[in-house]
Symmetry: C2
Subunit: 420 residues, 2 copies
């Protein structure tokens, strides 16, 4: 399939450089970006952008996709109660088929929000593999080891899911310090060293988590993980709300990724990550939605907006975070965090994970500054098209590879069984 | 025009009661709500809701509509610099025709976000009247008196714009304590007493504003306004970020409305309003977007979300604010604040200011709890239809009463002239 996008603007990604002109894809790859048509080319489809902007898709660098089941189900609990009273009892019942359907519901929401890949920590991965094969979504698994399971299959999963489908990859990971014994963390570190692979986990999400870790180990989670060799081949952490100067120093020196989840942290009253400090220190940053249970939406626009403006009010400084920095984190930072360097920007030879932003929506006008309009004013309704691996999965509000209505019908039926 | 909505759910408003069935309008009024069709009725149009929800439109209880010109134009200034360096120089150039076009741009964004009325503080009202007459939007003027003008025409405007068009009304107002002399405030109070009318103004938006007021008058703005008799016939304040216990007591005793503008306060680093304290005290609350210069979007979903979750993190309490309370403020509270009691809910005899929420968007699924999905997960893309005064102005992404493309073309041309 060869597709030509023309008569638009192209936000290339890494540098946030904007060029006028056209972009061509052939199969999964970008084959041309230029101001003028390329002579002698024929295409399977030519799309008139009518002045709209195409740009790299957003990368959701931390989520629990199948937790769409938990949306608005048990709001207004603090993290600990929320997990133990509301979520764990249902999770105990989830079947592979539940995961298959609730993951597909999450993908619908990702596509609508311009998200072209997710870094997903959950369980029963075979349900996810079925979902990817049916939908064409790009999925990066993050290992979800904790004291209740996962360590015995981590290596097997690592090998299997890095070789199951071009749209699927797998990175080592565990839930968090407070759910994972030192013995298990050491075993994960051994596997990381064997494969020279990065490791990811929830980290310093709540003040209580840090306090517990200090009581158990007399150090912060970041210091503990580093001391166990978990970060020797890179990786990073999700949330990073209660990070110390020393924690950031470790992240900077090891080239680790701090993945922010502002909405989830607000709703669960966990805190506000010190985003400006990470940026000032030159630490790699990326952005995630967390799961729909704690967010409750899988909306990268809202995350970008909050990662920009929340620090303004915390620091009493309206210049605290530049929206361009956050936009870059949502696109390029996320891709590199997830090992998707081939999807980190729009350049010839890169993979065609592309979204189209509708400039005919009033919140994108006047066109004083596209990047700032996107971060400060954008919402999922502005996404007119989402392409993954050269295939258009979402266009003009329609889902092209699977039936959204069927997903709603089945997942609502499943809710009756799960909470009944 | 008689319209029948059927096969859906109706969120009635005030009580947030949800009923299944149908709703009929005749002209500007709601004529029937019931579970079953009404025998013998004929309609000009019958709309199958296909399970979607209709509900009262959101009321934007504080905004500067024509400031769409300032979107992403001069971000990352603090309030004082932002006004003086970026905004005032352009405002000095704005013509009535500029106001007409930039107001129409704002209305497009309101319609897309399910907003059916705005409480708008700006100037050159004749440009707005032209915009209302062309578009069919519902507009409530708020007087914008300050030391630079407005007091000499306030009474004339009050009489004129309460009698110019059924979609337009006018409430007394002034900019703020720090821009308005005591003498002028006394003259406004006299007018309020003459008409027995409520008075509105920006209040306690920044810490610096409160400090300045204390230096000048040795009291808070709320106490000052009350002491001048400005609140003797009701009214309220916009922002209310730095309110004391005593300020809230005045608002409670006088039945005043506190209008929150969370996004603007974050972006300009003004602070976070103590929403739970207002709710606990039983004070009337409403929600506004403020202008596009400081927000930057006119998105009531984002406001509702933040008015709910920001207080969670401030208070370290995930139960701090119930989303249902905020939803009610965005619909019913706003209507009553603006004097639009006839639009405050969906009941027979009320005015037909109605929006339709698309339940076929994935962020509204599974349908565990509609109200919470709306506040925690909703975005403007979920608004499928916006009806004002019985007329459908926006449906399926199309604007039915005026040409959005022309608005974009003209406003972008105007930007070239204004900043050139």
């Amino acid at each position: 399939m060869k597709i030509r996008f023309y008569n638009g603007k192209i936000l290339k990604g890494t540098s946030l450089e904007m060029v006028k002109g056209e972009l061509h894809t052939d199969g999964s790859k970008i084959t041309y970006i230029g101001e003028v048509p390329k002579a002698g080319e024929s295409f399977d489809r030519e799309i008139d952008l009518e002045g709209d902007v195409i740009m790299p898709g957003f990368k959701n660098a931390h989520t629990h996709t199948a937790m769409t089941f938990a949306r608005s189900l048990a709001d207004n609990y603090a993290l600990d109660d929320w997990l133990h009273k509301a979520i764990f009892p249902i999770e105990g019942k989830l079947t592979e088929d539940n995961i298959f359907w609730f993951t597909k519901l999450g993908y619908l929401e990702y596509l609508r929000s311009g998200i072209t890949a997710c870094f997903d920590m959950y369980f029963k991965p075979e349900g996810v593999v079925r979902a990817v094969k049916e939908t064409g979504f790009r999925h990066v698994f993050c290992g979800s080891v904790n004291d209740f399971g996962g360590i015995d299959v981590l290596e097997e999963e690592y090998e299997k899911y890095n070789d199951v489908d071009p749209l699927i990859s797998y990175r080592l990971g565990f839930h968090a310090e407070y759910t994972t014994s030192q013995d298990i963390m050491r075993r994960i570190s051994d596997i990381a060293h064997k494969y020279e692979a990065p490791v990811f986990a929830h980290i310093s999400e709540t003040k209580a988590e840090n306090e517990g870790c200090r009581q158990r180990y007399n150090m912060t989670p970041a210091k503990l993980f580093d001391s166990l060799g978990l970060y020797d081949f890179g990786g990073g952490g999700f949330h990073c709300v209660w990070f110390s100067d020393e924690d950031r120093k470790i992240y900077k020196e090891k080239g680790l990724y701090a993945v922010f989840n502002a909405c989830s942290n607000l709703k669960l009253a966990s805190g506000i990550a010190p985003v400006p400090a990470f940026i000032k220190d030159g630490i790699n940053i990326a952005i995630g939605t967390d799961g729909a249970g704690s967010n409750n939406s899988l909306n990268m626009f809202r995350e970008m907006y909050l990662d920009t403006v929340l620090s303004n009010v915390v620091n009493e400084d309206p210049l605290a975070v530049k929206p361009e920095t956050i936009l870059s984190a949502a696109v390029t930072g996320g891709a590199r965090c997830m090992g998707l360097d081939e999807c980190d920007c729009l350049e010839v030879g890169k993979t065609a994970d592309i979204i189209r932003i509708d400039m005919k929506d009033p919140n994108m006008q006047p066109d004083n500054n596209f990047r700032r309009n996107l971060v400060y004013s954008g919402d999922p309704g502005n996404v007119k098209m989402t392409m993954i691996n050269g295939n258009i999965l979402y266009e003009d509000g329609k889902y092209l590879t699977y039936d959204a209505q069927e997903v709603y019908r089945v997942t609502n039926e499943m809710m009756g069984e799960l909470i009944g």
